[in-house]
Structures are given as C-alpha cells and as structure tokens.
C-alpha cells in the first residue's frame, strides 16, 4: 500500500471539506473493496475520509412499511435487525450472504451502493425495492442512480447518507455464487409492491451492471408465479462472459434464479 492520510470525519460538512482539500481524496466506509485494492497498489488515494463516525450515518429505522437505513450501517446489522426482518426479510437475508463474517462486520450498505460493483448484491435490492438513495445534496431514485459498471449518479464529493424504501408485500433474492469469489454470478431480486407493481432486478450477469428485467416484471404482474416467467429468455448479448461462465450460461441463470426468487417470495 502506498502511504495515505487517514481522516475520521465527524460531520458531513467536515467530510466534504476534507474531500476538497485532498489532492486525490476518497471516501471510505467499511473499506472492503477499497482497502484490498489499495493493498494491491491498484488505488492510491492521497487522503481517505472515513464516513462511518458521522452522527446519524448508521442505524435502521422502520416505521410501518417505511424503511430507512443509514449509509454506514454494516451488512451484519442489516442482516440481524429484527424490525427490518419483520417487514423486509429478503433484504436481511441478502445481507447475511454478503462475503464472510469479517466482511459483513465491516462492509456497509452505502459503500456497496456507491461502488456499484457489477457483482454486488445490494444494487439489485435497491432497484427492485424502488429505493431512494439519499445523499448530502439530494435524493436519487434507484432507477436513476445505477449507471453501469462501477458508475453511479453520484457527483464528485457527493456522499450517500441513507437509503429509503417502502417494504414490498413480498420479495426474495436468490443468487448463484461465482465458485471462486462467491460474488454473484447472477443474483435476482424480485419484489412485489402490490397492485401489479412488480420489480425484478438482476446483478452479476449483465455486461453493463445491475438492470431491471422488464419482460419478467410484465409477466409477473399478471401472474406472480415461476411458471409465468419460465419461457422468458434473456439475451446473451447483454451478458458478461468470463472463465466462470459464458454469456449463454449467465443468460440461462437469470431465468433460473428469477424463478427461484419468485417461488421463494411465495
């Protein structure tokens, strides 16, 4: 790792100020992607600004169906929060399968979303839950937030403070892990928001990051069952291809995982 200056911000204002001051500053939350990348010398920020200790940045609030999760909330806390599990068990279950225990105790929801790794789990949840990404500047709909692999609508220096969504009536997330990394090779989050408002989001498989599967959403709106989407194919042209699985395999997995998610959502 190259040398860097670590700063622990105590407010959003201080974090923003530090970011401006640094030559090549980066925000860090749980650091589960950034720190390994720095160790490999593939990233070399001059300044690291730790957001986790800003007041109000972590914690889960559930009020009726409304859920708000602070950006610095760890995967472990999301996976073990009883109130969240009561209204949106699919999200708690998703968090319980990110990485390993060490990752889950350090990694945060805001960090994961800001990084928008094409194989990360949370982006699929945010899209399918129709979440709002709250920053220190504005609120951004998930549909407009994820812009492709590792790209988001975040402007330079903008900080995610929370995510908010209304709990769906039913939902499930099923992923097929990459055998080596155990990241999602294909993960599908299906959420039924009632009155035919179905959202299906796919991570890990698409060659432009997380995406919504409109054809499946349409089919499920009329008939929320695995059978309804059994014959819906996904174009291999839009899929990732690597040593673990080619595009045709991933396209096939989208259907399999989607059916399993629908069946699991019940």
């Amino acid at each position: 790792m190259y040398q860097t200056n670590y700063h622990r911000a105590s407010s959003l204002e201080e974090a923003a100020k530090l970011f401006k001051k640094g030559d090549d500053a980066k925000f860090v939350s749980g650091g589960q992607t950034l720190i390994p990348t720095m160790k490999q010398r593939l990233a070399a920020p001059t300044d690291l600004i730790d957001l986790r200790h800003i007041k109000g940045m972590s914690g889960i609030k559930v009020s009726g169906k409304k859920v708000a999760i602070g950006a610095a909330t760890t995967h472990y806390d999301v996976s073990t929060n009883g109130k969240l599990a009561a209204v949106c068990p699919a999200l708690a279950a998703l968090a319980s399968h990110i990485g390993d225990p060490a990752v889950r105790h350090m990694g945060t929801i805001g960090g994961s979303i800001a990084n928008n790794d094409p194989a990360a789990d949370y982006p699929a949840a945010m899209l399918a839950l129709g979440a709002t990404i709250v920053t220190n500047k504005r609120e951004i709909e998930a549909d407009k937030f994820f812009k492709g692999m590792f790209e988001t609508a975040l402007k330079d220096g903008e900080i995610i403070t929370a995510v908010a969504f209304a709990a769906p009536t039913r939902a499930a997330y099923v992923k097929y892990p990459n055998p080596a990394s155990r990241y999602a090779m294909c993960g599908v989050f299906v959420a039924d928001h009632g009155k035919g408002d179905i959202r299906v989001a796919v991570t890990g498989a698409g060659n432009d990051g997380v995406f919504r599967h409109r054809a499946m959403e349409k089919a499920l709106a009329g008939n929320f069952s695995a059978d309804a989407i059994a014959s819906i194919a996904t174009s291999a042209d839009d899929m990732l291809s690597d040593i673990h699985g080619d595009a045709a395999y991933r396209a096939h997995l989208v259907n399999v995982m989607a059916r399993r998610a629908v069946a699991q959502a019940g």
Partner: protein
C-alpha cells in the same frame, strides 16, 4: 504396542504451536540490518529485454541496490538446472534452454524476474521496483503445448527446436499396436489434465545473510529439502561452496511439491546479500505465488485401450504432450516420464503398453511436481478409460476392473514397475460395500424425484511412492540418489533426539517419528525431539516429497534405532551379567528375560555416557546413524467411490458421498493418515471441479488470485468415509507404503466418472465447473 507406539492415534505434537500462532516460519526471522528484496517481473509473456534504466529507482527512498541479470551472470552465478536427464527415443539428450535467475536477454513468461531492488522496507523495495524502467520488445508468444510444437509457433529457446524438450517413449509400440488392432473393442479418448497452482498456505520466502568475517552464508528458506537446496546452490549455481553455506528450512506451511525446487529468488537473495553487505529477505505475496511458483499437471493425451471379447485388456497406447512452461524446473523432466508412464498399467494385468511423451516449452510458469506428480495424470487417464470402456461395452464397471486386476505378486509390468504387494480386490470390495454401490439405483430414483441427477463413479488407483532406489533412479537419469539418513542421539538422561533428513511441512513428523521410539523402547513421545531442516544439524538428507518420509525416512530411523538398541542391550547385559540375547527393552525398562533383573532405560543411557563400566573395548556414548536406500518403490493402492448430485438447472455438482478404501501398508498414526487422505481427496476434488490455471490470449495469467482461482472450501466437500486395508510392503522394515498423495491421485477420476454418469455425457473436461457441466448436459 505402547500407548504411543505404532498404530496409536497420538495427537500432533506440533499443532499446539501452529494453531496458536507460535510457529516460526521463514518470514518470522529477523536479522540486524535486514533489508528487503522486491523483484521487477516481466508484464509480457515473451519479449526481448532492451535497456534497463535503474537511475530513478536508485534514487528512491531506502533503496540500497538495483541489480539485474547481467550483473548476476557477470558475478559467475550459474544457470538454473533440471536435475533429471531424459533422453529422447532417438538417443539424444533433452534440449534444455538456459535459465538465469534474473533474465538477461529475453523474458519468457509473465512473472519472469528481470531485476531486483533491495531497500530498507518491503514497501520501499516495491516502490523502487516500480520505478525500474525496462524497455521490452514484445515478441509473439504461445501458452499451449500442442500449439507450441506446431509449425510457425514462436520459438522460446534456441536449444529446443519446435519448443520440444524431448520426445521420449516407453514400452513396445509394435506389440501394443498389434494387440489393439486385434481387439474386440477399442476405447479411444482425448484427455486433458488441467494445469494447477499449488497454493501452499505459506507463500515462499527467503532470508539470506553473508558473514564476511567467516566468508559464510546462511539461508532461511521455505524448502521441503534444505540439503538438496544447499547442494544445488553450491554445485551448480556457484553461490557458495557447500561448507560455507548453511540452509535452514524452519517451520514450513505446506509445500505440495512446490517447495522442492530451488527458485531464482533464493539464489538472488544469497547473491544480493553478499553484494550489498546486508541480510536480504524476500517474501512472496500471493500474486507472485500464482505467477512464479512451479505449477502442476498440464497434459494433453490421446489414448487407445483394446479389450478382448471377455473384457480383458489387450493393449494400451498413449500419446502425451506435457507443458513444462518457460524453463525446466528442477525435477520437471521426470514427472511426465518416470513418475507418469510407469504407472500406466494401473492395478491391471496389461501385457502390452506403449507411451510416447513429448514435453514442450511455452510462455507460462515452469511446471514441476505437484502432489502426486505424474501419478494423478496416469490414474486419471487409466480410470477414465476403464470407466468409459465399461460403459461402451455395456459391462459392469467394477467387474471390468476386477477381471483385469493383478492378483499375483510380485508382478512385473511392461513399464518398469514391479508391484510387490497388494490386494486390489479387497479395497474394491470395501469401497463398494461402504458406498452401498448396490443400492445406488434407489438413491438415483430418490434424487430424480427432487429434480437432481445422481451419478456414481469409481476409481481404482495405484501409485509409486517411497522414492526411490538410488541405483535404479540413477540409471534412469536422476542426478541424485534418493536414500534417506537418520541419526539417533540418546542423551545421558535417556531422552532422545532424532535427526532426520526428512522435512516436515505439515506431515506431522514430530509426532509419528517419535512414535517409532515409543514403540521401540516404551518411552513417552514427549521424551523425543525431532530435529530436521537445518544443514548445520543434520548431516545430509534428501527431504520430503513423493510420500517418501514414512517408507524411506522412517526406515533410516529404524535402522539407526536397531543400532542403538543393540548397543544398549550390550551395555545392559554387561551391567546385569547376562547375555545380550536375553535382554528385552519395554516400558522404559531394560530387563533380563525371565528374571526380575532390570535397569531403567535412563540408567543404561547414563552408563553409556559415564563410561565407568562398559564392556571391554566399547566406545562410550549412545548415538548411531544410518542411511537407508530403498530396494524398490512402494505401491499404495486403493479404490474410491464418489457419488454426486447435479442440479440440471445450474450445472452445480454436489459431492454427496465419497468413500476411500486405501492400502498404505503399515500405519503409524491412523489419525494423521486419515488427515492426509482427507486433504488429498479435497485437493483432488479441487482439481476435478474447481481449480484451473488459465492464461489468456495475451499470455496473462487470468487466475492470479482467489477471486478467480477456485480453491476447495469446506462446503465443497462431503464428510469422507475412509478405511484402511493393509498388505504390508515387503520392501522396507516397517512395511510402509506412504499415504501423502493417494487422495489427490485417486479422487479426480472417481468424481468425473460420477458426474459424467449423472449427466449421461462423457465429454467433460476438468475442472467440471457448473458452467461446463451445464453445457455438457445441454449438449453444448
């Protein structure tokens, strides 16, 4: 046996320090003034080296030296060698290209070392290495062996035309062809044995220092055979004369073969320590380990096996191309020849075998022995052929094998080996019974009801261990003898130190070797200290690999113990006024048989050292040494049954049952042997369905981290059912055969036979990843 003698499940004495973080590995050692080495490695698969601009690096903070290959060769450091001469079938010696510890003119694989930076911290060394500017003229490259032999392929070494190192054969080609031609059935297959990266838990490391006052070097290194390292460093690389070089291999965290060889990094650290006047440490990071540790396997084979109308094997013809990478590693030449083709008879009585092997240079990391070394490749080939032949002929898979088993011993195969003992029917019966082979169809039907495809596969393996009779391997081209040495030092108080040339890097020698003493004298293992891994302490030894430490290393200890016992009995007989022939030693006491006359073991030992009252003419002391040279290879064998369930939707395979019935001869510590089998099978499952080193079209290693190279994890493997069926090895005093590699040798074909059985498509290449299984299932 005593409580801790042969056959006792003594807990591993070394585990306390390993699992509490108190092991002492190479990287744990520190020296005053120690500096750190970082290597400048080639980013290209093949390139001509132009100017190396070191000036920026030399000015970096903490950098004391930037050294390159021309300086290294200029100082007289010799090229790396391959220690086993193979002659091609036309009689010509193998075509070995030059390998300098730092490249001088060309780089030949991604990771090839070009220069080294020595600095006062690991970070400064690495930053310095990044500042070295190397002009590369990129050349065309080739990573696949079959392509590399073809016309128009880039040429790696002027010595090796068409990149072919040797074109070797064994067996009678004409007889094999004739037998196959007259067969009622011929099974024909093309088999790929995938390239693997060894991945020991501890990466390689070296710490070298030069004492100018004594003109003496010390090298701490991650070695499975420190004496061989010293010999080669001295005799071939001219780093230092043998008596001026101490090599210490302290606690070593796994090797699997990859730490047998002498690598460029150790040579460079030794040379640099003298050149800079500071101790130099290098510790590989995981990416360097992927790039520059010797890889394993990487064979492409075409084979035909003929059968008569009753299913008896008539002949076996094999044509193998083996990828040896960019340079010939220390024992690379022997792996696809004498450790591979000599096992092609399997457990079977085959009169006619012919095997041709061409080894090839490619722009990839060097390939050498990796757990099993040649024998997994042979077993995979033979057992895939047998399973496929049974399917093609509509015969029962187990019965086809049984019909062809060797049943009389000794059995001379047509490919050098003479099997000394075994009972292949017994291990097959045990495996079939333990796996409830007969009840498989019911389980298959039950799996089908829940949407899973269930398959069962069998593998009957044999391997050759206890390497090896020195004269025999010498006649086959080995540059060393493969005996082992031991010294038993009995202290005046009766405690015992055993100095051994074997090296423990996970095998548990501190426990099992001590059990030999416990068995012999009835002493607790806590009274025994095992000393190994230091050329200043142990006079010489050949190290640990090829499952040899039991059959060869412990035989040497046994011989030395014989001498100690004989002398102790003479002393006791003298003191007790009895005949030495009447003395027995048990439970720590030295007794006159049939009387109540006895001495404590410690009393006899003390008498040996006081010398006050010894038999006339006897030298004081109680210390004996022995060298043991094996009379034959040993032949562990067994039968493995693997049962899988495949999810047809995803291609994901779950190994639901794995049964191993092994014959390792005498077993010293069943717990440790079971651990070896569990680990070996897990590595075999890794090869069969998870692991594979892949170079892309640019010659870059795609699988250079655990993000892409898939190691087996606990949830990938079932709870194993392991059993032992002993036929004693007649070739060594303890009757041992060896158990370290069997699991990795026997398991891959069992697993692939099971998956192909489940999916009904025999066309499946390792690793059988979910994507590949799904494609095979869908006829893609």
């Amino acid at each position: 046996m005593g409580m801790e003698g042969i056959g006792a499940r003594v807990l591993r004495k070394e585990d306390q320090r390993f699992i509490t973080g108190k092991g002492h590995y190479t990287d744990d050692f520190k020296m005053a003034g120690m500096h750190y080495a970082a290597f400048v490695r080639s980013p290209h698969a093949h390139a001509k080296i132009g100017k190396i601009n070191k000036s920026a690096a030399e000015k970096m903070p903490g950098v004391v030296a930037v050294l390159d290959g021309k300086q290294l060769t200029g100082d007289g450091i010799g090229n790396l060698i391959c220690g086993w001469m193979i002659h091609s079938k036309d009689g010509s010696p193998m075509n070995m290209g030059a390998w300098s510890a730092l490249a001088t003119e060309f780089v030949r694989y991604v990771g090839d070392g070009v220069a080294v930076v020595i600095a006062d911290s690991p970070d400064n060394a690495r930053t310095g290495a990044e500042a070295v500017e190397v002009d590369y003229k990129v050349l065309p490259h080739v990573t696949e062996a079959v392509v590399a032999m073809g016309s128009g392929a880039p040429q790696l070494h002027p010595e090796a035309k068409n990149n072919i190192i040797y074109d070797w054969e064994i067996g009678d080609k004409e007889a094999a062809e004739k037998a196959i031609a007259g067969s009622a059935h011929v099974t024909e297959m093309e088999i790929i044995n995938n390239r693997l990266v060894p991945n020991p838990m501890e990466p390689r490391a070296a710490l070298a220092s030069y004492d100018s006052a004594q003109d003496h070097f010390t090298l701490y290194t991650t070695s499975q055979n420190p004496h061989v390292a010293r010999l080669v460093l001295s005799a071939f690389y001219q780093v230092a004369p043998e008596h001026k070089l101490r090599v210490i291999a302290p606690d070593v965290g796994g090797g699997f073969g990859s730490k047998i060889y002498i690598y460029p990094e150790e040579i460079v650290c030794l040379w640099a320590s003298k050149k800079t006047g500071v101790p130099v440490k290098w510790t590989s990071d995981r990416t360097e380990a992927f790039l520059a540790d010797a890889h394993g396997r990487d064979h492409v084979t075409k084979a035909r096996m003929g059968f008569d109308k009753d299913g008896r094997i008539t002949g076996f013809s094999v044509d193998t191309v083996a990828n040896l990478g960019a340079y010939m590693s220390l024992f690379s030449s022997s792996v696809p020849t004498y450790l591979y083709a000599t096992l092609l008879s399997g457990q079977y009585n085959i009169t006619n075998i012919h095997c041709n092997v061409r080894t090839v240079y490619t722009n990839t990391a060097p390939v050498d022995a990796y757990r099993g070394a040649g024998r997994p490749e042979a077993t995979y080939l033979v057992e895939r052929m047998m399973e496929t032949a049974a399917r093609e002929m509509g015969m029962d898979r187990a019965e086809l094998r049984r019909k062809n088993f060797v049943t009389e011993f000794p059995h001379q195969t047509p490919v050098i080996m003479c099997y000394d003992a075994g009972d292949y029917g017994a291990t097959l019966d045990a495996a079939l019974k333990a796996s409830d082979w007969a009840g498989f169809e019911k389980r298959k039907a039950a799996a089908a009801r829940k949407g899973k495809l269930r398959g069962i596969g069998l593998s009957c393996y044999i391997e050759a261990c206890g390497i090896a009779p020195s004269a025999a391997v010498g006649s086959l081209g080995a540059g060393v003898g493969l005996w082992e040495s031991a010294e038993v030092r009995v202290n005046p108080v009766g405690t015992i130190e055993i100095l051994t040339g074997s090296h423990s890097h996970g095998q548990g020698h501190e426990t099992t070797f001590a059990q030999l003493v416990s068995e012999r004298f009835g002493l607790p293992t806590d009274n025994v200290q095992i000393v190994h891994g230091d050329t200043d302490k142990v006079q010489f030894g050949m190290g640990t690999y090829g499952s040899r430490s039991g059959a060869v290393g412990m035989s040497a200890i046994t011989k030395a113990l014989d001498k100690v016992e004989a002398k102790a009995k003479k002393i006791a007989a003298h003191l007790l006024e009895a005949d030495a022939g009447d003395i027995v030693i048990e439970n720590g006491e030295v007794k006159v048989a049939g009387t109540d006359k006895k001495l404590g073991w410690h009393e006899v030992c003390l008498a040996a050292y006081t010398g006050h009252n010894l038999p006339a003419g006897m030298e004081p002391g109680l210390k004996e040494g022995a060298f043991y040279d094996p009379t034959n290879f040993t032949f562990p064998a067994g039968a493995y049954v693997c049962e899988v369930e495949v999810d047809p939707d995803t291609g994901k395979t779950e190994v639901v049952q794995f049964v191993a019935a092994d014959d390792f001869g005498t077993i010293i510590n069943p717990m440790i042997v079971e651990g070896q089998v569990h680990g070996g099978i897990t590595q075999g499952i890794g090869q069969a369905m998870l692991e594979g080193a892949i170079y892309d079209g640019n010659g870059q290693l795609v699988t250079a981290s655990y993000m892409d190279y898939c190691m087996p994890r606990a949830d990938d493997v079932p709870s194993y059912q392991v059993s032992h069926h002993v036929t004693e090895c007649p070739g060594n005093p303890l009757g041992m055969k060896g158990c370290g590699e069997a699991g990795a040798i026997g398991s891959p074909p069992a697993l692939i036979n099971a998956i192909t059985d489940a999916i009904g498509n025999n066309n499946l290449t390792m690793p059988a990843t979910p994507a590949r299984v799904w494609a095979a299932l869908n006829g893609k």
